[in-house]
Structure formats: C-alpha cells, structure tokens
Amino acid sequence: MKAYLTRRYMFSASHRLHSDALSEAENVATYGKCNNPYGHGHNYTLEVTVSGRVDESTGMVCNLTDLDGFVHSEILERFDHQNLNTLPEFAGTVPTTENLCLVIYDILQRGFLQAHLERVRFEETMMNSFEYWGENRVIG
C-alpha cells in the first residue's frame, strides 16, 4: 500500500526581492515593498511530502526521525534566522518563495533517500502559499 506522509516545519528568514536584470525603476515596479534594500522577513511554514510503500515491519513510509533529522540539519539549521539573499543558493536567483520551493526541493531530492519526494509546499504568510511537485503530476 502506497501512502503519502506530510510533515510541517517552520523557519524565519529575511529577503529582498531584487533582480540585477531589471533597472531600479523596473525593480520597484515589479517587486514594490519587497524591493526595500534593507530587506524584510517572514515566518515560513515548510511542508514536505514523501511517499512510498508502507513497510510491513514498521508500519511506516519512512522513519520520521530520519526525515526530521535531515530537514533540521540540512535545511532549518542553514536557513533559519538567515538573510536568504546571502546564501549561495540565491547568489544568482531572486529569493522569491517560488525559487525557495525549487531550492528546498533540490536539497531534499539529492540528500533524502529514505522515501520518494513528492512535493514541497511553502506558506510565506497565511495568505500566500506555493508548491512544487518536480516533474510529478499533482495528485487528484
């Protein structure tokens, strides 16, 4: 039996949305308040969905301790209370939540091998959420 397990995490970080490919006026027009050169912050909620056959001996898709351990050491410790613009992942891209989804998906896809990664979903605020399923079809 195949099941999908989703775990929610939180971290807080600052960012500034600014593209070197745009003029100053275009940056302001595109990003508005998010273009403030001093940056601003969010409490991000990250949802990670993994899937797989439920192991008969453990009743689990994967051991939650492994997933929590990976996310804490490889994601939360690196991203929590940081300015996203200063991280190497965003050296060449704007730290929008769309790009944050892609970055986190890539870290999980490369490093977390105990279950199949299905989806990364971010809530930037209670009003905005973003998700990335890789090349997979959205279920349903």
Binding site: M1, A3, Y4, T6, S57, T58, V61, I139, G140
Partner: protein, 136 residues
C-alpha cells in the same frame, strides 16, 4: 467531477511495537512511541469523496449519510480507544498514521454508495499527516 471533504475528530491511544524485533530494535526504531503503556493523540480525519453533481439534489453526496457512515464505521470504533488492544486491524499491524489511514479507507470504501472515496487524510498532530488514495 466535484470533490467534497468532511472532517471529523477522534482521540485514541497507541504504541509502536513489532514482536519480531528485539527490545533494542523496537526502542531504536520507534523511540518514545515504543512505551508499552501507550500515549495518545487528538486525530483529525478528512474524508474526501468525488462524484458528479446530482442534477436533482445539487449534491455529490448526501452529507448527512456521509457523516453517519464516518461515525458508524470509523469514529465509534476508534474514538477513545487503545488502538493496539481494541481495534482488530491493529492486533497484528502497528497503528502508525500510515496504517490508520489505510484502515479507515478499508472501513469506509465498501460502505460509500453514492460517491466514490478519493482520499483519506489523517492528522496525528497539526504538523504531521498521512494521505491514502487507495493505491496498492
């Protein structure tokens, strides 16, 4: 096709233990969840059904019937129970959230007539949930 989701809550206790594992293996794999006296959760269940909208009623499913089916087949069996000791599925299976979602699907699926079961989602806590779509 329209999808309709009904939520319900139940509270139950459980513990994780595989008799084929040694005591050390059980402790290493299941950690705090291996305490044989059990521990509990407030579970939130979401049942999603799908179907065409009936032109006469405007319904995918009669919500009253769905609610009654969920109550009879799932909540009465699971609410305020020690899953390992009182729910037959878990006499032999470990009552993880994965197996709970599968067991709830298997209880509901044959009892739903008008609409087709699409998804069972079980929240063990607000930051952990499992989805089951009936996939083998």
């Amino acid at each position: 096709m329209v999808y309709l989701t009904r939520k319900a809550e139940f509270s139950a206790s459980h513990y994780y233990h595989n008799p084929k594992f040694t005591a050390e293996e059980n402790q290493r794999i299941f950690g705090k969840c291996n305490n044989p006296n059990g521990h509990g959760h407030n579970y939130t269940l979401e049942v999603t059904v799908k179907g065409e909208v009936d032109p006469r009623s405007g319904f995918v499913v009669d919500l009253k019937q769905l609610k009654e089916t969920m109550s009879r087949e799932v909540l009465e069996a699971l609410d305020h129970r020690f899953l390992n000791k009182e729910v037959p599925e878990f006499f032999t299976q470990i009552p993880t959230t994965e197996n709970l979602a599968i067991a709830i699907w298997q209880r509901l699926s044959p009892k739903l007539k008008a609409a087709q079961l699409h998804r069972v989602r079980v929240y063990e806590t607000p930051d952990l949930f499992v989805d089951f779509y009936g996939e083998a």
